[in-house]
Amino acid sequence: MAHTSRVLKSEWTKVRSVRSTVWTLALALVVTVGLGALICLLTNNEYDDMSAHDKMTFDATFVSFAGMGLGQLAMIAFGVLVVSAEYSTGMIRNSLAAVPQRGVFLLCKVIVVGLLVLLVGMVTSFVTFFLGQSLLGDHGVSIGDHGVLRAVLGGGLYMTLIALFAVGVAFILRSPLLTFGILMPWFFLIANILGEVNATKKIAQYLPDQAGQTVMTVVQESLDRPYGPWQGLLIMVAWTVAALVAGFAVLKRRDA
């Protein structure tokens, strides 16, 4: 235990001592809140022109999280950089020479990253929600309404999981260029397209981000998924755990 707490301290020093931590996490917050607010403002203005069906399935909570699609990319960037910078700088050799127990090394990194993004994710989620609802005016909902608090907490968890998923993938791929090259287009475009196209929709709804975002919905019909909000989040947890386990297998087996 003493050993683990020393390594945790060390990983915290690593995370807080590079600038990329501040700018990626700040960007995640600003983009999510800013874009969410903008879309809420526009939605409020256009609400009367919406179709009856759209009004029926209108999910004020989920609309306020509209910025998360872009904001999550900064979270992913943070997760990727924390790991792949070790490899691209060669720091990994110093790190593993200091902590040869690779399981402890990975676990401590995951805990430090996880707690930090959970904090930032929760702050982002709550700020986004309250700002968004105030801009939606009469169409907004209250935090006390049924399912709303779960959705807002879910937003923070979603951001945490997406960052940890990126950590796992970065441990598998190592190279920052490769990891960014795969994760960024994937979460920015491909997963969304697959989720929209009818032919692929059935499978795409089980992708980590597509499944995870159901936890931020309050009106079931807004996403129309065969699973509930918590189950959606659970699917995302499974993806994240799988990525981390695979990342650990690579770290354990391969030469540093």
């Binding site: 690593k14 990329s20 060669g90 593993l96 040869p100 540093a256």
Partner: protein
């Protein structure tokens, strides 16, 4: 104490490290010598548990590396000047390493002072010169005040002042009773610092011996004689069974190092001597000779695994020294990151 037993690393078809067995002893500087691509860095990475051996093992103070809970207290290593996040201040870089091994934060200031980087403790290493980067790496190696220090090509690319500083530091560390294991591809560098030598070529152990024994074994020692009567001198020496060759400017070169006997012989024969001097090849020459043998072998002996031509004593396995280096030059392929 570092002990290697049958350490082997294979990358696909290629043996990067081939059955290395030797021990690095405390209190002296042990030089780890071999041309680029010989497997020195791979060996050092295996010592640190970074690369896993294909077979064989390494023990540090009698334990496997990953059995060490606080390895920085046992062994400190400088692997390459890089290995530092360019955006993390020097102080923080050392702090995170220190914390992971339970080393108190004040030690960070001490090692920075020792390597002369106190003034740039709060700077990001991105802007460091090669020499400063090297000093930061050495500061990290010294953090845990370890009994074993391992430096991979520490003087590469340094200016004369930096080289002098590292040499002095290594000598001081060894004189404090520590184990100092330092790699180089420069024999001249080893000649100035190392007391013991481990020489490898193509991943194979070529020599594990003291510096002076290495030179004696691998170099040509002879006695140079100048005399106004060279013909008579030659006759006398040949009659005594000495092997001679012609030196520069009419000098006679007698194989061996028995100058006393030669002097006595000359006196007995009433031969005038103008010079009687034992000559010993430097480490550099000894090293070159190994290279030359390998090149010769390579040219005449055909494919790998063919029987070896005449070898110097006590060195049963003599691989094609520098062969890989030549291939690398010609082909430009392979794992270049390995030794660079």
């Amino acid at each position: 104490m570092i002990e290697l037993r049958g350490l082997t690393k294979r990358y696909g078809e290629k043996l990067a490290v081939d059955d290395l067995t030797f021990a690095v002893r405390p209190g002296i500087i042990t030089g780890f010598l071999g041309p680029n691509g010989a497997g020195k860095s791979t060996t050092m990475r295996m010592i640190l548990g970074l690369d896993s051996p294909t077979s064989g093992d390494v023990h540090i103070d009698g334990k496997h590396y990953d059995q060490l809970q606080e390895p920085l207290h046992h062994i400190g290593a400088l692997l390459e000047a890089k290995g530092v996040h360019g955006g993390r201040r020097a102080r923080d870089h050392l702090l995170c390493l220190a914390q992971s091994n339970g080393i108190p934060p004040r030690r960070v200031g001490e090692v920075l002072e020792m390597v002369g980087l106190s003034a740039v403790a709060g700077k990001r290493p991105k802007g460091f010169s090669l020499g400063m980067g090297q000093r930061l790496g050495i500061a990290a190696a010294l953090l845990g005040d370890p009994d074993i220090l391992m430096f991979d090509e520490p003087v590469n690319g340094l200016d004369p002042e930096g080289i002098h500083w590292i040499r002095t530091l290594m000598q001081r560390l060894a004189s404090e009773g520590r184990t100092v294991f330092v790699s180089s591809h420069l024999m001249s560098e080893m000649a100035l610092t190392a007391e013991h030598l481990v020489v490898i070529g193509q991943g194979k152990l070529l020599a594990d011996t003291s510096m002076s024994a290495f030179i004696a074994e691998n170099s040509h020692t002879y006695v140079r004689i100048r005399t106004p009567e060279p013909e008579r001198m030659r006759d006398v020496l040949t009659a005594q069974g000495f092997r001679l060759s012609a030196g520069e400017g009419g000098a006679i070169e007698v194989e061996g190092d028995n100058a006393e006997r030669l002097g006595e012989l000359a006196a007995a024969e009433r031969l005038v001597l103008h010079e009687l001097s034992p000559q010993r090849a430097s480490l550099e020459e000894a090293f070159m000779q190994l290279t030359a043998q390998a090149v010769e072998y390579h040219a005449h002996a055909g494919p790998e695994g063919a029987p070896q031509p005449a070898q110097p004593p006590a060195q049963p396995a003599q691989p094609a020294w520098g062969e890989e280096w030549n291939q690398r030059r010609a082909g430009g392929q392979g794992r270049t990151s390995e030794e660079d």
